[in-house]
């Protein structure tokens, strides 16, 4: 169905529904993400955001409907990088070893310099030789981000990657990510609970209803992607308006507090 | 397998080999080994000595074509010559005849006074051994049915242990455990008595047929040194017990004691009708082996009793008696 599609969408979900046993987690959902878009997913805890990412990454098969990434049924590890909600570091490798492994899988030279560079990019210096349990929770999450950044996939899926970070670190990484997506034309799908983050990062924000997650709001963010300093951007009146609109959609749960 | 690859006797190797299986019972075989008699007699041969701890495993080794010559009890030989094994080997020597070194002993306080009173008692013996055979022969002789006694399978050292605890009423075993249990028991019958009654148990020297065919001269040399060892036992007990003691990790005195209880034939006796016989006439040994086979058949341990002629064929008498001198 997608081979005839002229503008090959980075992601195309058609009538997707996913069930775990008799629990319907998401759907039905129709969603098309063109290449280069920065899509932010927002929704209540347990509404199916992680499930959606797993579907796109190919870790789950949809119960109904079809999922296509670059026109093909997605296969884990091919074409899409995924930062899971939990850091999922390999305890048998040092912090640097975790990043090096990702470089190796990507077919890149896993030199200590390259590893340090990636760690530096997420604000971690001098922890390359530590064991994974010898760093703090936020640091673990950042290692997971560095690992995913090592692989340069056309599609990047991030599941609440900045949840355990302080405001300053978070902003730095947000800016980095915004720059990456703007410059490399990668497609990003980003899950967050922070409305501010959603508006700042997204070129489009989708709000999901509580379980089963359906699309409650699908909002293009018209803010300029480049040129403006972060503070300027946040200062814009449209920014506040978008925040308010998304915030309201997130808070509005009365619509579908039914269980599947 | 690599063991069998050498073939029978390594007939065409640059140095011919003889693979000998021996067991840890006192006999001339150990003197031959300890004093290197065969090595002296056959300097052109490479001779390997392998210790086995039961006739059954020696039979297995013959099946695997891993040995050429072996010291083995008459009971396993009877098995080996019968179907289904039909091992192609021949009896070429009588190493010793069980005498007072194998006996049936009743424990003091068990109330057993003779073989007949074993009814309903617990008797131990190592199954499938010459002692097992002798025990059943003794019971038969006394008119006791096998199922009237409770016969327990125990290795000699275990007999000694169980005996001390008082778990057994009687046991048919050999040295050294026999010596231990005799201290607190009474000998009911020994293999020497059974031998005179026509149920002898022997330790034999057997040679694989293939080896006999390939190296008859080596077999002759081997028989000669075994005969020489018998002479040493008779003539120089001190040298004999020193050699046997060294092989069995016993003091010469202990070895002497053990040797004295066995029956060692004179080389000349071997060629009499009572044992191997001569080239013209195979001796009573064949009959004895057939009767052992009949016993096994009765026990359902073999498929069929071999014909006497076949067993006579399996007694190697070529060159007897002159070859022993």
């Amino acid at each position: 169905m997608s081979s005839a599609d002229p503008a090959r969408a980075a992601i195309r979900l058609t009538d997707v529904e996913h069930r775990y046993g008799d629990v319907t987690a998401v759907g039905p959902i129709d969603l098309t993400v063109p290449a280069g878009e920065f899509l932010v997913l927002v929704g209540a805890s347990g509404c199916g955001k992680s499930t959606l990412l797993r579907l796109i990454a190919g870790f789950e098969e949809p119960t109904f409907g079809s999922v296509r990434a670059a026109g093909e049924p997605p296969v884990p590890g091919r074409g899409a990088g995924l930062v899971f909600q939990q850091p999922r570091l390999f305890p048998w490798r040092s912090v640097g070893g975790n990043v090096a492994l990702a470089l190796k899988y990507a077919g890149l030279p896993a030199t200590p310099e390259r590893v340090d560079e990636l760690l530096e990019r997420v604000g971690l210096r001098d922890v390359a030789r530590r064991r994974t349990w010898q760093i703090s929770g936020g640091q673990q999450q950042r290692v997971a981000i560095a690992r995913a950044l090592a692989v340069e996939n056309p599609l990047l899926l991030l599941d609440e990657p900045f949840a355990a970070l302080d405001a300053l670190t978070r902003e730095r990484l947000q800016e980095d990510l915004r720059r990456v997506s703007a410059s490399s034309n990668r497609t990003c799908v980003f899950v967050t609970h922070s409305v501010d983050e959603a508006v700042f990062l997204g070129s489009r924000v989708v709000v999901l209803t509580p379980r089963p997650g359906r699309i409650a709001l699908d909002l293009p963010i018209g803010l300029p992607r480049t040129g403006l300093a972060p503070d300027e951007l946040r200062g814009r009146p449209e920014f506040a308006a978008l925040r308010a609109e998304i915030g309201a959609a997130v808070r509005d749960r009365s619509s579908s507090e039914v269980s599947a | 397998g690599n063991g069998a690859a050498g073939g029978a006797g390594g007939a065409d190797g640059e140095k011919k080999t003889i693979r000998i299986a021996y067991q840890a019972f006192p006999s001339g075989d150990l003197i031959v080994k300890n004093q290197g008699l065969l090595e002296k007699a056959l300097p052109d041969y490479r001779i390997t000595w392998t210790k086995f701890d039961s006739g059954a495993s020696i039979n297995t080794a013959f099946v695997a074509k891993a040995v050429d010559i072996a010291a083995i009890g008459s009971s396993p030989v009877a098995r080996g010559l019968s179907a289904p094994l039909n091992i192609p080997y021949k009896v070429a020597f009588v190493l010793d005849v069980a005498g007072d070194n194998e006996a049936l002993v009743a424990r003091n306080g068990s109330g057993v006074t003779d073989v007949a009173s074993l009814k309903g008692k617990k008797v131990a013996t190592p199954f499938a051994s010459t002692a097992h055979y002798s025990l059943l022969a003794a019971l038969d002789q006394a008119g006791v049915k096998e199922n009237e006694v409770s016969i327990v399978d125990l290795e000699p050292q275990d007999i000694q242990a169980a005996w001390t605890r008082g778990d057994l009423d009687a046991a048919y075993t050999w040295l050294p455990s026999l010596a231990e249990i005799k201290k607190t028991g009474k000998v009911l019958i020994s293999s020497r008595q059974l031998a005179t009654a026509g149920k002898p148990t022997l330790d034999l020297g057997v040679v694989s047929t293939a080896f006999i065919d390939a190296h008859p001269e080596a077999v002759d040399a081997w028989r000669k040194v075994e005969a020489q060892a018998l002479d040493i036992i008779a003539a120089d007990p001190a040298a004999a017990s020193k050699a046997v003691g060294a092989e069995l990790n016993l003091s010469p005195a202990e070895a002497q004691e053990q040797l004295s209880q066995g029956v060692f034939l004179k080389p000349a006796d071997l060629a009499t009708d009572e044992w191997l016989g001569t080239e013209g006439k195979v001796g009573q040994l064949a009959v004895n082996l057939v009767s052992a086979a009949e016993f096994l058949k009765g026990q359902q341990k073999i498929d069929a009793v071999p014909a006497l002629a076949d067993v006579q064929n399996a007694v190697y008498v070529k060159g007897l008696p002159s070859v022993l001198g």
């Binding site: 039905p28 | 131990a124 001390t164």
Partner: protein, 286 residues
């Protein structure tokens, strides 16, 4: 702006793709049974072939001969009951009883020892070398001592089997207990769990998979020790039967005995695996 809020769930027209996880065993129950049958048939063919080419029944008895012995040893024929006066099933039953009691004692002992070794520091320091020492000892070497201590009836056999079954459970338990996840131990303690509550609610459940591996190994080892245990007064008993047959080179009976042992072992292991799968739904989820 809601895109497909009320669209009914439509069954995809595409065929469901198989799960691509490389670790998931593929195929269902039917397929498994078919594969095993195929394997059985192949093994049987190989056996028949080997028996025919070697043509030496002491080397490799033919399937027919073993089958014949199965009939012989399971019936009363010519006034003789089975083998050595007992039917095959009786031999097997007696041995199974020994194996089960022996493994049960060994497993229980191994569990207690393993937990203590894993948890109590000074006890580990002392017992671990002892356990390592003992498990290196060959049962054939010390079995005579058992006779002196326990006689020649059931007791020494049960002791031998218990001692054979104990080490896998003890070692596996101790190792698993020492590897208890710090995070969960701390979580339990933060909730107010005492020392033994932590062991009961965290350490042991976490160790369960390894304990099960230990138990499965222990039962297997008890099985494979049954001949050694039945060297002494071992008839009736499948080990005693095999030993006897071996000494008379009745290879067909030996092979029959091996089948009886192997197949019943397979059955017990299947039961253990079923129990394991029931009891450990969280496997792979830590």
């Amino acid at each position: 702006m809601t895109t497909s809020l009320s669209a009914p769930p439509v069954v995809s027209t595409e065929p469901a793709l198989p799960r691509r996880s490389p670790l998931a065993p593929q195929g269902g129950r039917r397929r498994r049974v078919a594969l095993r049958l195929l394997a059985l048939v192949i093994l049987y063919g190989l056996w028949e072939l080997a028996a025919r080419t070697t043509r030496n029944p002491t080397f490799i008895p033919s399937p027919g001969a073993v089958w014949h012995q199965l009939i012989q040893t399971s019936t009363v024929h010519d006034g003789v009951r089975g083998y050595s006066g007992h039917l095959l099933i009786e031999h097997l039953g007696v041995s199974l009883r020994r194996i089960l009691i022996g493994s049960a004692i060994g497993v229980a002992g191994g569990l207690v020892l393993g937990v203590l070794m894993g948890v109590v520091g000074w006890l580990r320091v002392v017992t671990e070398p002892v356990v390592t020492f003992v498990r290196a000892l060959p049962p054939l070497a010390y079995f005579s001592l058992f006779i002196i201590w326990f006689g020649i009836d059931e007791t020494p056999k049960l002791w031998l089997l218990s001692i054979a079954a104990l080490p896998p459970v003890a070692v596996a338990t101790a190792a698993a207990v020492q590897g208890a996840p710090t995070g969960l131990v701390e979580a339990a303690r933060a909730l107010g769990a005492g020392r033994w509550a932590v062991i009961r609610d965290v350490t042991l459940p976490h160790a369960l998979p390894e304990i099960f591996t230990g138990i499965r190994l222990a039962v297997g080892i008890a099985y494979s020790s049954v001949v050694a245990a039945e060297t002494i007064n071992g008839v009736p008993g499948i080990g005693g039967m095999v030993r006897d047959a071996q000494r008379y080179s009745q290879t067909d009976v030996v092979v029959l005995g091996l089948f009886a042992i192997g197949l019943s072992g397979l059955l017990i292991d299947a039961l253990l695996r079923t129990a394991e799968n029931r009891l450990i739904p969280w496997r792979g989820r830590l």
